[in-house]
């Protein structure tokens, strides 16, 4: 319950902070912090235009995509307080509900019959397929470490004690930020500012969406960032009291947003052929986390 409200609040300013950081880093003043939200509100006031060649899938896909993000958001806990939906193994639900939304956005891109959108859809499918094992190995090893299988229990019983668990948390933060960048099609994988369809991934899939549907998809992107930010926060707060945990939540979201902005300002997009190997590095790093967990538990050595 608490996490739902906090994620909504964080998503209001998250993208604005990223854009402002990028503007300041490139020597401009930059737009208002709430400009992304204003853009979305403008889109929500419009109707949508549908092509004659596409079927009902194209019309329902943005709604399902948005709904899947909301469902995923409901499972994210905050410290001791559970999410709306919390049961054993809910991290699998989290991952696959996001995958369902992604599946619909992929088939709606295929539905338009545009060759560009098919290309973008195939890239999106490939990269999220590579990112999936990294996420599961990461959360699975955290589950093994704590002995619980739901998000809330994993995060509330995650104690930071020794050097090695600090190292594992640092690695886990790195992997989660990178997964967030892949899922949102941000810089090292995909450039949100590119103007050439051949180099796009996510933008090319939503070329035909307009008005209200486009607004839903963009809002879903903002929420996704805040969801991953909340997961990172959960790695650190554990069972801290609310009056400390809520400021920490916003501080960490702010830091994550600023670091993403700085990262995007100073790095160029990878070549398309280098993306796959970069994403598999995340899987390798999460395998190391897994063996670190085995080390802590004494199952090995």
């Amino acid at each position: 319950m608490l996490s739902f409200i906090l994620i909504l609040l964080a998503s209001l300013f998250f993208t604005g902070i990223i854009i402002r950081t990028k503007s300041i880093a490139s020597g401009r003043k930059g737009p208002d912090l709430f400009q992304p939200i204003k853009d979305v509100i403008r889109l929500f006031k419009k109707g949508a235009v549908y092509s004659e060649t596409c079927s009902f899938i194209f019309q329902i896909a943005p709604t399902i995509y948005f709904a899947s993000i909301i469902m995923a958001m409901l499972t994210v806990p905050f410290g001791q307080s559970k999410g709306f939906i919390s049961f054993n193994g809910d991290f699998i639900f989290f991952a696959y509900v996001l995958a369902l939304g992604k599946f619909f956005s992929i088939i709606s891109a295929m539905d338009t019959g545009s060759s560009f959108e098919g290309m973008g859809a195939s890239r999106e499918a490939l990269y999220s397929m590579f990112a999936e094992p990294a996420f599961f190995i990461l959360i699975g090893s955290l589950a093994l470490l704590t002995g619980h299988t739901s998000f809330q229990e994993i995060f509330s019983s995650l104690h930071l004690g020794s050097y090695i668990s600090y190292a594992l948390t640092t690695l886990a933060t790195f992997v989660l930020i990178m997964i967030a960048m892949i899922e949102n099609s941000r810089m090292p994988i995909d450039d949100p500012k590119t103007h050439l369809e051949l180099t796009m991934i996510h933008e090319v899939m939503i070329l035909d969406n307009s008005g209200f549907d486009l607004g839903l998809i963009i809002t879903a992107g903002y929420l996704k960032f805040a969801i991953y930010g909340a997961l990172i926060v959960n790695l650190f707060i554990g069972i801290v009291d609310y009056q400390f945990a809520i400021p920490i939540f916003f501080a960490i979201q702010f830091l994550v947003a600023i670091s993403i902005g700085l990262f995007e300002s100073f790095i160029a997009r990878f070549r398309m052929s280098h993306n796959a190997q970069f994403i598999v590095v995340l899987t390798s790093v999460s395998l190391l986390i897994f063996f670190g967990v085995l080390l802590i538990l004494g199952k090995f050595i």
Partner: protein, 210 residues
């Protein structure tokens, strides 16, 4: 703390598997030298001046200053292009490196020996195998030298795995070994660079009887 450093060491191996440029390889080798120094320094039980100087000489001065600078000099002198040019795509290299580490962990898990520190053993063995893999999968001669240096790092970690104290003789042996090999390969490479334009291993297959 040592475990953290050793995990960082394994991550440098992944980075080496996907690195594109020769300078990146040299930087990774220097970083590995620094990591090894910190590991040995923490591992030391009592600080013996002679031993400390020897270790400092071997890791910091040798592995992370002298050899990288010398390799950089060789690169510049022979005008070697900056790409690594592997035989296999980097993606496959990465998967093979990951498989090497997983297999090593499974292998070491089946050994029951109290004297052996298994974390060191895993890192040592996977470093040695990764070094071998780098030697067989890269096209340029200078990358073979780098793969050899990675193997040396692995042997260094292995000598930590079997005993608490670094035997001084082993130390000296490793140091002499690296020195001789890098020097000989460097001179060899310089001569090749002078006589032939290219230092591609594939050219060697043309040397055959008719």
């Amino acid at each position: 703390m040592i475990h953290v450093l050793l995990i960082t060491f394994l991550i440098t191996l992944f980075y080496m598997a996907i690195a594109n440029r020769m300078l990146t390889y040299i930087k990774i080798l220097a970083l590995q030298g620094v990591l090894l120094f910190v590991v040995v320094f923490i591992q030391l039980e009592k600080i013996n001046t002679l031993n400390l100087i020897l270790i400092l000489l071997e890791t910091i001065v040798f592995k992370s200053l002298a050899v990288p600078l010398f390799l950089k000099h060789v690169l510049k002198r022979n005008r070697i292009t900056r790409e690594a040019e592997p035989f296999l795509p980097n993606f496959i290299s990465l998967i093979i490196t990951t498989l090497i580490i997983v297999v090593t962990i499974l292998l070491s898990n089946s050994i029951n020996d109290f004297k052996l520190d298994k974390m060191f053993f895993v890192v040592a063995l996977s470093t040695i195998f990764t070094g071998l893999y780098i030697i067989v999968s890269r096209r340029k001669i200078i990358t073979h030298v780098m793969g050899y240096l990675v193997i040396e790092n692995g042997v260094f970690v292995l000598s930590l795995a079997v005993g608490n104290e670094m035997p001084m003789l082993v130390n000296l042996g490793i140091m002499l070994d690296i020195f001789a090999s890098v020097l000989i390969l460097g001179i060899f490479l310089n001569k090749i660079g002078d006589v032939f334009k290219d230092v591609d291993v594939n050219q060697l297959s043309n040397l055959k009887d008719y």
